[in-house]
Amino acid sequence: MRYVQEFRDPTTAKVLLAEIARVADQIGATPEKPVHIMEICGGHTHAIFRYGLDRLTHPGIEFIHGPGCPVCVLPMARVDECVELAQQPGVIFCTFGDAMRVPGTKKSLMQAKADGCDIRMVYSPLDALELARRNPNREVIFFGLGFETTTPSTALTIQQAAREGLTNFTVFCNHITVPPPIKALLDDPHMVLDGFVGPGHVSMVIGIHPYDFIARDYGKPIVVAGFEPLDLLQSVLMVLIQIRDGRAEVENQYSRIVPEHGNPVSIAAIEDVYEKRPSFAWRGLGEIDESGLQIQAKYAAFDAEAKFGIGYGAEVAREVEEPDGCACSQVMTGRIKPIACPQFGQCCTPEMPLGALMVSSEGACAAYYQYGGGRPLEAAE
């Protein structure tokens, strides 16, 4: 097996795989009647494909790829708004590089940059803050995108901008949170989910208790996992053991990084700067209650929506249809595999993405494409 040799510790990997197979058999999992385990985080999706974990594990285990890639769930309307903001006079629009190629209805940020907008790829919101300090005559807008791992960094940056009294720095806040879409998926009668592998770095910020409802209200196990392949195998095994034993608990496989109660400084910054929006649109999933964050009124001076009247906070939140023939929403909810999408590899490739799931290496379609997820096992060995 080619893949197992690539593991840091192939012996342990083999032991874990054998153990997973044993417990899966005890549960009675078969390819016809599989156990459905959703990995929530896009980083995990990437690792599963990179190491072929979906093929190495017992055939009765089916991985359902979750909504945990912020670029993938970004609706086209938000990209359009980014372009609109970038077109405002005097604006320097800053974004993480991942968002550059996400298609909008008219263009991506990449195309807008080629068309002359001053759009800069930054590594950190602190880079955008520094640009604001250095260019007092320009308006610097940072595109705040991402889950709870990234949210504190923008919150702390806004707090710093406020301390310095900067008047030319704003954040276009499109931060989203992990628990609400999980709840939405669990409430979806078409979804079959038997357990979850929880995100590691999100949990490093928020701790493990925000997932309590999954175990308590829905009776499903969840194990917070690291993204090393061995972490993932260990976590899948922990989920299976819970299922076998009829338990539903929140377990922490990644306790070496994830404190039970998260990071207090980060949580305090998030609570100081943001509040929940009543609802927020997700590409492929639709509107989800209390799933997005907005900047509180006391920091309105740093809110691009308030300053420019563009975006979700503007009077009417825009809705746009996703492109024709794209199966993103079915892939997003795990109903079909990426290769079942008629556009996959045809009109939609990582170079020329049609849907957002093809843009980031954490998107299920891009991962399938990159690692040949569509090919049968023999071909990969």
Partner: protein, 98 residues
């Protein structure tokens, strides 16, 4: 973009703003220590420590073994390279003429 990368804190650059220089796989990058501020309030305590750095913020102090393993995992996924490129892009963005 959701995964952090290990870096070693080498010096405090601006105590007021809680900023420090970190060495991330040989690349020097200024990061915020706000999330890992020691309870004593003395930032110099974290000099020499390894931290998991995410978009310019040290999010957690980790031990050297964990740092090495995390880095190996990130390299396996190609994410280490991606992050270092993003850091270079960030440096370039600051250099671009407005």
């Amino acid at each position: 973009m959701c995964l952090g990368i290990p870096g070693q804190i080498v010096e405090i650059t601006d105590a007021n703003r809680m900023m420090a220089m970190a060495d991330v796989s040989g690349v020097r990058r200024e990061v915020s220590l706000a999330p890992v501020m020691p309870t004593s309030g003395d930032l110099t305590e974290v000099i020499g420590e390894w931290a998991l750095i995410h978009v310019g913020f040290a999010m957690a102090i980790i031990d050297a073994d964990e740092a090495a393993e995390t880095l190996a995992a990130l390299r396996g996924l190609g994410e280490a390279q991606e992050t270092l490129e993003a850091m270079a892009e960030g440096a370039k963005a600051l250099g671009e003429r407005a």
